[in-house]
């Protein structure tokens, strides 16, 4: 089927994908090695502080991924190109992974530092709610079969969910606040800033690679779906 072959061909070239994989994991390894070997044990937290090098960038990537979902959901409703829907879906999946990582690492850090695994603080609670919104988005995609319907509905859910993120954040912030000022280069001792920046870049590359890879798979899945439909209708 010539049309199917073309849609397969137009997926991104594989070669650069592999190089991107090597590159981003090399950068990640280097960033981790640099930050772990160069950061002194922190006064209160000791070596626990090193969790920050993944926890904080992962949290940034979570929000960035949600932003990508928002942008591509809007683009989809505007232009109705299937690629936009698949990119939004890939970003949501990767974002959920980073979100889960943020929560898990935060808990591992919180237990020795605060003495509890979980506390109903603003930042923790809003990150958890964000996770639930991602889960809802992905569940919707799983439960709708028609590709057009799935794309339109998940775009709507993605946009409405993204609008809710600042509102959730504000409401739980008023509700309760315990989290320390979030770490960013401006609140950190200079000894830690470069490590944090390097790791943020590394995780950004990892995220781009993951989204891209997931997008390639999504394209192949769609092509397979179409081929199965053609076969069912008596084509070859």
């Amino acid at each position: 089927m010539p049309t199917n072959d073309r849609s397969l061909d137009s997926s991104l070239p594989r070669r650069t994908g592999i190089w991107l994989a090597f590159a981003c994991f090399a950068v990640l390894g280097a960033a981790q090695a640099y930050s772990i070997s160069n950061s002194p044990a922190e006064g209160d937290m000791g070596h626990l502080q090193k969790i920050m090098y993944v926890h904080v960038p992962a949290a940034w990537m979570t929000f960035l991924a949600f932003f990508v979902v928002l942008v591509f959901s809007v683009l989809y409703l505007w232009r109705r190109r299937e690629a936009y829907d698949l990119i939004a879906a890939s970003a949501a999946e990767v974002g959920a992974v980073f979100n889960g990582l943020t929560l898990a690492l935060g808990m591992i850090w919180g237990r020795p530092t605060w003495g509890v695994w979980w506390t109903w603080d603003a930042r923790l609670t809003s990150t958890l709610v964000l996770f639930l919104i991602f889960i809802g988005y992905l569940a919707l995609r799983g439960f709708v079969d028609d590709p057009g319907q799935r794309a339109r509905w998940s775009a709507a859910v993605g946009i409405i969910g993204a609008i809710n993120v600042p509102i959730v954040y504000m409401s739980v912030m008023w509700w309760r606040t315990l989290h320390q000022q979030p770490s960013s280069p401006s609140t950190l001792d200079p000894a830690y800033t470069l490590g944090l920046r390097l790791n943020a870049i590394a995780l950004l590359l990892v995220m781009i690679y993951f989204i891209r890879r997931r997008y390639e798979i999504a394209r192949l899945e769609r092509a397979a779906e179409q081929a199965a439909q053609m076969a069912a209708m008596g084509g070859r």
């Binding site: 409703l77 709610v129 639930l132 919104i133 889960i135 809802g136 569940a139 919707l140 439960f143 709708v144 079969d145 319907q149 339109r152 509905w153 775009a155 709507a156 859910v157 946009i159 409405i160 969910g161 609008i163 809710n164 509102i167 959730v168 504000m170 409401s171 739980v172 008023w174 509700w175």
Partner: protein, 228 residues
């Protein structure tokens, strides 16, 4: 006048939905009974100490509203689907948003009746003392219910047409309702107590802003969602 025609469409859809519910009654009765049952279960789980119940009253009532509301929203579209009525409804002339507005209005009437029952039972079961600022308390309840109905109706228009609608709707809806839950319960608790810090007003503003934002957003998005 175009807007008058639109308003007639909205009213017609709402009246149709309310009439259906009034004639069948089974839907309303079961949903309201579920709300009351949830309250009773929460009372059993948290009681019987009167003070503990009083402290938990607001949260219990809101959880009962959320869990029973979810069933109501799914019903409003499910009824259309079961009789194959959604397609003809979409083919009627006039803008699509009137369908959403009509469903919204119908659900709002339905929920208002249910909320009245659940709240009354909650006040009795959880021995709530009615404060002097009870009109404001009702205002908080109303704003919260509007938020619940707007997003509930919107998500039900999708979830009811998917596989696994029973699970999908709460999964989509509840995380979105976190601000409503937090704002409504915190404001109500403040109003039931002394509210020395005048916290309630800020929460009421948040609830109002939430309602307006999502009313606009869902009206805009509905066009894309309802397409066949």
């Amino acid at each position: 006048m175009a807007w008058r025609d639109d308003w007639r469409r909205v009213r017609a859809i709402a009246r149709k939905d309310v009439t259906t519910e009034l004639r069948a009654k089974a839907g309303f009765n079961s949903v309201a009974s579920l709300g009351v049952t949830i309250l009773i279960l929460l009372g059993l789980a948290l009681g019987p100490d009167a003070q503990a119940l009083r402290d938990a009253a607001v949260g219990a009532v809101w959880l009962a509203l959320l869990f029973s509301g979810v069933l109501a929203f799914n019903r409003s579209f499910q009824v259309e689907l079961e009789s194959g009525a959604l397609e003809p409804l979409l083919q009627y002339p006039g803008p699509r948003w009137t369908i959403f507005a009509g469903k919204l209005l119908g659900n709002l009437i339905f929920l208002t009746l249910m909320v009245t029952i659940v709240v009354a039972v909650g006040v009795v079961l959880f021995s709530v003392r009615i404060p002097s600022r009870w009109p404001t308390l009702l205002g908080v309840l109303a704003l919260g219910v509007v938020g619940l109905v707007v997003l509930g109706t919107f998500y039900a228009s999708m979830a009811s047409r998917s596989r696994a609608r029973e699970v999908l709707l709460p999964l989509l809806l509840f995380p979105m309702l976190v601000p409503v839950l937090v704002a409504a319960t915190t404001a109500s608790k403040a109003l039931l107590g002394a509210d020395l810090m005048h916290d309630a007003d800020a929460w009421i503003r948040l609830l109002a802003a939430y309602d307006v934002i999502f009313l606009i957003a869902t009206f805009l998005a509905f066009e894309h969602v309802i397409e066949a």
